[in-house]
């Protein structure tokens, strides 16, 4: 028996060693990385995975990183937006499968800041020295709720603007110059009044706006408190600002301004190209979405958003604790978010920097986008980001938004009146735990 066992032992050891090796490559071990300081010898070949939810245009920056870290290989993984974040939660809980560097969008970051032990503390890699460069509220989004740990560094912010079609405005007898257009709507009420004028202009086949959902989101995010209070309790039902934003959305519907299209749905995409609506809420990154629909150069232009400034979206880069090479990964985050990188990403991918010093940098401030009639997007979006008042972002903010947004759409589709839809939306919100 003994002999027999020995005969099996050798291959068994070999196989399990192999298996261990494989899982090590997958980056599964949460225990050993915990100490933080386990730096690997520099000569060793290292593979870093970067988990993103769309093309962040990082490829040239990876090349730059390799100049100083020739031993590091970078592999990018991309998933669908919602799936990316749900997967990340699963990976953190099960302790396996997360990428070394992960992107977390603003609507989701509240799900991760309560669990700092799932991430490497970036302070340990000296990244807290970057704090002075950042927009204060953007920096705070990346800090754990208890303030002990720095979980992520911001990449971009979604400074708000209003995109509009000059051709349709002209047909309706409204001004077309972006300065004049922006002056039409200092407030959301003024925006609705402008919309009524647009309707009176009887433009064939076009409504004033795509749908009230994104406007609702913008109004909520302009308020000092949104869906969550400072203690991260859901207050959507009782916060008067949320109800006011909802009512304003209903007013848009009642005034016949809405084309009744859900943002990012296929008919919405077609509508951008074909001009079935004349305005839409436009965070900096959405200019890329518009371009993708190929409406033609100069078809869309960009003006200031009602209510003065605001932010929608924007991302942080974080290091899940499963990652084996936090030192290199932290260095990569540092590079991807530094001044030069953020300028490059702004001019190439319309990702608005989260470093306010850059807002006065000519490369950003004076940047005009020829696709949008040479709109000075640098100035418009930085003004919006500067004017933002930060608000607490709770863990399920995205779900709350979806529930109330669905309610607005039910009103838009004529299925329910405003009160019924509100009641059902609150019922949906109360189910969110």
């Amino acid at each position: 028996m003994r002999k027999l066992r020995h005969r099996f032992l050798a291959p068994m050891v070999a196989v399990s060693a192999l298996a261990l090796g494989l899982t090590a490559c997958g980056g599964g071990d949460a225990e050993t990385a915990g100490s933080g300081g386990t730096a690997s010898p520099p000569a060793e070949k290292i593979k870093l995975t970067v988990g993103l939810f769309s093309d962040f245009h990082y490829a040239p920056l990876y090349e730059e990183f390799k100049k100083t870290h020739p031993n590091v290989e970078i592999v990018e993984r991309r998933a669908q937006f919602n799936d990316h974040h749900t997967n990340l939660i699963t990976q953190l809980t099960t302790g396996a499968g997360a990428a070394d560097v992960v992107a977390v969008e603003g609507g989701y970051i509240g799900a991760f800041t309560p669990v700092p032990d799932k991430f490497h503390n970036l302070k340990e890699y000296g990244l807290d020295k970057r704090q002075s460069e950042y927009l204060d509220w953007k920096w705070k989004l990346g800090v754990s709720n208890d303030g002990s740990s720095l979980l992520g560094l911001g990449t971009d912010v979604g400074g708000l603007a209003m995109c509009y079609r000059p051709d349709l405005f002209k047909k309706a007898g409204l001004p077309t110059d972006r300065e004049e257009v922006g002056a039409l709507w200092p407030t959301w009420d003024a925006y609705i009044e402008t919309g009524k004028k647009f309707v009176a202009g009887k433009v064939e086949g076009a409504k004033f706006t795509d749908g009230p959902g994104e406007h609702f989101r913008a109004m909520v995010e302009q308020a000092p408190i949104g869906f969550y209070d400072a203690q991260y309790n859901i207050v959507a039902a009782t916060n008067p600002d949320v109800r006011k934003a909802y009512d304003t959305g209903v007013q848009m519907i009642d005034a016949g301004l809405s084309a009744n299209l859900a943002a990012f749905s296929p008919p919405w995409n077609t509508g951008i190209a074909k001009g079935t609506f004349a305005t839409m809420v436009c965070p900096a990154w959405k200019t890329g979405t518009i371009k993708d629909q190929k409406p033609g150069e100069g078809t869309w232009d960009i003006a200031a958003v009602p209510g003065g400034g605001g932010n929608q979206g924007g991302t942080h880069l974080m290091l899940p604790k499963q990652g084996k090479h936090p030192k290199e990964a932290a260095a990569l985050i540092d590079l991807l978010t530094n001044k030069e990188s953020q300028i490059k990403l702004f001019t190439e991918a319309s990702a608005l920097p989260s470093l306010p010093a850059l807002y006065d940098d000519p490369a950003v401030k004076d940047f005009v986008n020829p696709y949008f009639g040479n709109a000075p997007i640098g100035k418009i979006f930085t003004d919006a980001a500067k004017a933002l008042k930060p608000q607490p972002v709770g863990p399920k903010a995205g779900d709350v938004l979806q529930a109330i947004g669905n309610g607005l759409q039910r009103v838009d589709q004529g299925k329910q009146n405003a009160e019924e839809a509100w009641a059902q939306a609150l019922k949906d919100v109360s189910r969110i735990k």
Binding site: I89, A262, S265, T270, T276, Q409, K415
Partner: protein, 323 residues
Amino acid sequence: MATRAPDRLAAVPPNRPVGPRRRLRRHLVHQLDVKGSPYAYVAPFFLLFSAFGLFPLAYTAWVSLHEWTLLQDEHPFVGLENFRTLLADDYFWNATFNTLSIGVLSTAPQLLLAIWLAHLLNRPLRAQTFFRITLLLPNVTSVVAVVVIFSQLFGRDFGMINWVFSLVGVDGVAWNEGVLSSHFAISTMIMWRWTGYNALIFLAAMQAVPRELYEAATIDGASGMTQLRKITIPMIKPTIIFVVITSTIGAMQILAEPLLFSSYIITGGVDRQYQTLSLFIYENFTKLDFGYASAISWMMFVFIVVVAGINYLLTRRGKGGLA
């Protein structure tokens, strides 16, 4: 299995002469081979089934008895609480209704169409293989591609179907907004994908029906339709039962079509007008409410068994038989 061997050795009567040990050993190996090998051959399936079928099923049942949220470390046992909540949940019954409605709308016409198609193809025909392969093509198309294309066709503003309506002066329909209209649109997608596939299965069964029956019927002057009704359908009844049951199970699990219809909305429309059971499960899994989602999964399993059972009884009782 090797651990069983010593037991057998002990089972050998002790008073037997222990003489040629080698013969005994060979005998035992032979016995083991004859008795054990068949089990070894079927074992891989059952092992895989236990790992990927039985275990998840049992584990899901276990999870459904807990309040199980992924982000929390504690999963308190709550007994049947999740099921109690579920049975009182409007959205659950809404999803059940939608699933049954889409299931009936898609399965019933689909099977009739499939039998008719198979019947047509069962005759001598030029380029037979070409037609048969064509039947299968919709099925090999990616479901995502199918839904995206059909959603465009059923679009409210730029859809082709509404465009055709406008040509004859009928108002366009907002397909994804109404209950019936959205169910109809989704059923069309399902039918487009699965009719040909089921027709091929029917065709295979029809090929096994003896030619003489048709010849005799033709001599007696029976029309094509009569032959289909009186000969073909009774003869392929076991296949019909099989197809009805597989289609029912498929229809109960519809996920991709309602998820991707109009856009990626996990509630199945803003008023949950086409939210199916699978979507409801998916929604609760993405909310990481695993206990509740598992409870729905189990209820869905029960529904499938019940509905498949009813269908089995109905199709079996259907009149027919050549006697």
